[in-house]
Assembly symmetry: C2
Homo-oligomer: 373 residues x 2
């Protein structure tokens, strides 16, 4: 069934990923529905007409320029649904459709531990991060972090010192290292067998709003996250929470309560994170795979398993019939199919358009709800 991907497929994937109005969940749904990014792109005008929304495919020339620029930098794209895409990350409902990677892309499929913490870390905290990273890298794990000042940089450096592989997930584009003083570290990571990953297009300056997505990717790539120093309400704690939600292990290094940077880690421990003093404390609780890894649901390869397509657009009136059944309380798509007396493919087609129109949003566990925005 699945055709061998051609270079044109990647271009179509990038265009679909960069099209305004198509977020990660919609990307996944369009791929699943149409079987390929190319087919999904071709179907966009129809979806636009039915959803009453402008859905202009990202210009081919612009996507081509971005691909060429990334190639010039020595990088490449990994697309959700293609074999090299990191399998753990693909488990997230909102996994990034396109990842730009410098360095060794195969590393993203290896067993990783996230190591994150305060930018304004103490000397002791940086030493701890470096030591943990070195020991964990020595035990065969790739060390994943965010290339930030403080703990992140110490984690990458500790891994390189092992010597071992390390992965930096950056908030902006790959050509906009942030903070600027870590540009040499980013280059070193690539030169020494590691990888640098970005969801944002080349040329994107990292803004505050990009960091939550960056943290989400760190959480999605790893088997567990170690928090070394973190103030209450810091980004590191968000990464830990995201990791927990994704079924990954959370580890925290305790610290003196008089130091505000210890509060976040201590709180995590109080809430059940593994108290971590040495690499051994991490290794003994690190699973082979996340707790809720669905062994028989290869979400990673939707392009090889397109859903049955509705051959004709749904008759007028039916979308509103489906929409009436959807409230702000999430409802299972299966229940919806039963209640609206339409075929499953018709309901799927209608839902996709409702989603594209912004009226409905898809939720984890194949459920939908009215959009609150």
């Amino acid at each position: 069934m699945a055709a061998t991907p051609s270079p044109g497929d990647d271009l179509a994937r990038l265009r679909l990923a960069r099209t305004e109005g198509i977020g990660p969940a919609t990307f996944r749904r369009l791929l699943a529905r149409h079987g390929s990014a190319r087919a999904a792109l071709e179907a966009l005008p129809g979806h636009a007409a039915r959803s009453g929304r402008s859905l202009t495919p990202y210009p081919a020339a612009q996507a081509e320029r971005e691909m060429a620029a990334l190639t010039m930098l020595g990088g490449r794209f990994l697309f959700l649904g293609s074999p090299l895409y990191p399998p753990l990350l693909s488990l997230l409902e909102d996994a990034p459709p396109a990842l730009a990677v410098l360095g060794n892309p195969a590393l993203l499929a290896s067993r990783q531990i996230g190591l994150v913490g305060a930018r304004s870390a103490s000397a002791a905290g940086r030493r701890m991060a470096e030591q943990l990273a070195r020991d964990l890298a020595g035990a065969g794990l790739a060390i994943t972090s965010g290339l930030a000042r403080g703990i992140d940089a110490a984690a990458h450096e500790g891994a390189l010192a092992a010597p071992g592989p390390t992965i930096a997930v950056v908030a902006g584009g790959l050509d906009e290292p942030y903070p600027p003083e870590n540009a040499p570290l980013q280059a070193r990571i690539v030169a020494e067998g590691g990888a640098v990953v970005a969801e944002a297009p080349l040329g994107t300056a990292p803004l505050a709003r990009h960091f939550p997505r960056r943290n989400r990717i760190v959480a999605g790539l790893v088997l567990g996250v170690v928090v070394v120093e973190a103030a209450p309400k810091s980004g590191s704690l968000i990464t830990a929470r995201l990791a927990l939600e994704a079924g990954r292990e959370v580890f925290a290094v305790p610290g003196n309560p008089l130091d505000p940077r210890a509060r976040g880690g201590n709180d995590l421990i109080r809430q059940g994170a593994h108290l971590t003093e040495t690499a051994e404390d991490v290794l003994q609780f690190l699973p082979e795979a996340p707790r809720d890894l669905p062994l028989f649901a290869p979400r990673n390869t939707p392009e090889t398993q397109p859903e049955p397509r509705a051959e004709a657009p749904s008759p007028p009136g039916e979308p509103s019939k489906v929409l009436e059944l959807i409230g702000t309380t999430p409802v299972a798509v299966d229940d919806l199919v039963r209640r609206c007396q339409l075929s499953a493919p018709s309901v799927q087609a209608i839902l996709l358009d409702l989603e594209l129109s912004g009226l409905v949003e898809t939720l984890p566990g194949n459920r939908v709800a009215r959009s609150l925005s």
Copy 2:
């Protein structure tokens, strides 16, 4: 039934407590059996004959001298079984038969929290201990510690600063403050409404072997113990373990793993101790009474409830019959009574003599076993 205690009763209690060969458990058993310390003292020659062991009552003149000396210092004795004896401490199987107290003895019956830690504490550790003690004393708890250098001293000082009551349990005699530089602190505790407690007789220089008993008393007095800084295998960890065994809560302040003084507390947290950053973390888990407080078993007042006495010494041969049934695996006294076909009072009498002879030891839960020593 219970006679009003006379001054002579205290003398008898002290003599019984100081008699060589009578440890805390035997003291309790003799009191329970004979109804009063005076009667137990009178019965000692009979026990000695039956157990084949010399049991010379502590000389009355020497006990009188000790009582007079303690009175001169402004102190008094509290005896196990008398109303002022600290009720939580009396729950320990090996509660000290006699406690010498300077200051306010009634304080020992109040709700207490233990605060212990490293002698070679860091400045941050001392500050944390002082702050916790001040806040916990402010919340109405008495702060109990061991008058040692470092964390102990900071805990007492924090309580005094609240201002609030504090209790120092010392390893040597009350007239041998240790370490010498804390003699002024001991005096201040007494002067400012606190109490200083010793199990050892006056004139006892504190030796290494006295400290485990001191730690045991701290654990027995309190509703919970907070460990602030503690190296692995330190006395503070022993206090925490003893507290846990006595059904008290254990709290530990986390610390940076690179500091060896943080290891003990971090280990405790890993094993389930409450992670503690502020007094609030302690107060929310501190019970009104220990988990296994036997509400309807007033062990505190054995003198008012003597067990039925065997009127006659047991017939020859019966002690060895009972001894045969006791191995190194603990056996319940009730089972023993059933199996040896003697009356319960006879078995109790035989057990007491076997215990005094050193052949058998009493264990928690009314069980006995062959002595291993």
